[in-house]
Amino acid sequence: MTTDSAVRGPEVPDAHRRGRVKCVVWDLDNTLWNGVLLEGDACDVRPEVVEVIRHLDSVGILHSIASKNDRAAAWQRLTELGLTDLFLHPEIGWQPKSESIQRIAASLNIGLDAIAFVDDQPFELAEVAYAVPEVLRVDVVDLADAIRWPEFEPRFVTEESRNRREMYRTQSVRAEAEREFAGTNEDFLRSLDMVFTIVHAEREHLQRAEELTLRTNQLNSTGRTYSYDELDAIRVRDDHLLLVASLTDTFGSYGTIGLALVEKGDLHWDLRLLLMSCRVVSRGVGMVLLNHVTRLARDDGATLRADFVETGRNRMMQVTYAFAGFREIARDGDRVVLERDADLELPEASYVRLVTDPIRTATP
């Protein structure tokens, strides 16, 4: 492996390298295939490169393209090779590659430091190093070594990871439909036929649940993280509830996007953690999960209390609690206990169909 600074990324502490790359941006000529398309070369695909792409795809890393090429001709060749489905938001044209990379990052809503760029041309690697230094750069000759770097090893590989590309693809179709929708936001939400499913966490949900506690910031009531083992212990306790929520609509699934951890008492239940992924933050389902937990507590003859910790990034969750009728009843520094006004009606989100499993003890 070369240590030339032109073929590595910025200096990042080892602890932050693991799983940093969320999308790999590929050159085409003499990288994905042999030869130069516009010079009439055969452009046979490099099977070892496709193998790397498929492997990374299977662990949830996305792929895109930054190629200086004729767009129609390059897409035609990719179609012949049966590879078009693998790439999201490809940038094929004559703009600088740093510009293509910035557009891809914006389209995927990820940071530049979550991108790796693979090319065979020293000039392109240097241009990217200069203009977008956060990007991890890989010379294609080093590819076999590079994919063993921790940057390409996600912290979690879950069912969600395997479906990530499809979810992003669905998301761009959905966003397009939303842009073109003529009508109110409520009409649009209604047109989505959303189904929100809340179930007791089973073991198969726990990796994703752990991931959610680490990755969710804005709609996170305490910022506390829980390990797989902690969650596994909690989910089988009689005095606790661990609920996970998922959402689907006419376009497809958003995956598992919410979590509620409740400690059940006789007089009141304590909602220790409530979180909702930023993927669904514009869908109004945070309130639906909160209201569901409130309803379960009420049916058990208990009022609902909630822990809240101001993390500096979760004011949205604070406002969500306030708008759901919660008031502060105790405070210790940044740590707050909220309680819901028991007389308040429970609103129903009319545009979401709620599916739940019956109350029961989770199977160990």
């Binding site: 109110t184 936001n185 933050v281 708008f323 009728g325």
Partner: protein, 94 residues
């Protein structure tokens, strides 16, 4: 516009305009409980609070984050007037 020149009725009108835009064009009445009707999601709620702070030059503190201050456009306007009265400099003599 200087925020001090915003009159009482303007406050309600501006809040209604913003609420209507935030809910994608739904026409709302001053006393309509748009929260109970599920018309705002978490993003719109936090945008609303931020907009009220910026537009009317007040700070919504944690203790102000109460459903009763926000559940209708009229209540938000009342809340804004209370906050501004409390923040107004004391100009009395003596």
């Amino acid at each position: 516009m200087d925020i001090r020149q915003v009159s009482g009725d303007d406050i309600t009108r501006q809040i209604l305009e913003f609420l209507s835009a935030a809910t994608g064009g739904t026409a709302l009445a001053e006393d309509q409980d748009y929260i109970a009707e599920g018309l705002v999601n978490s993003i719109q709620a936090v945008e609303l609070v931020t907009r009220v702070e910026q537009r009317f030059g007040i700070e919504v503190e944690v203790s102000d984050l109460d459903l009763d201050n926000f559940r209708t456009a009229g209540r938000i306007a009342d809340f804004v007037r209370r906050k501004r009265a409390a923040a107004a400099p004391d100009t009395r003599d003596g």
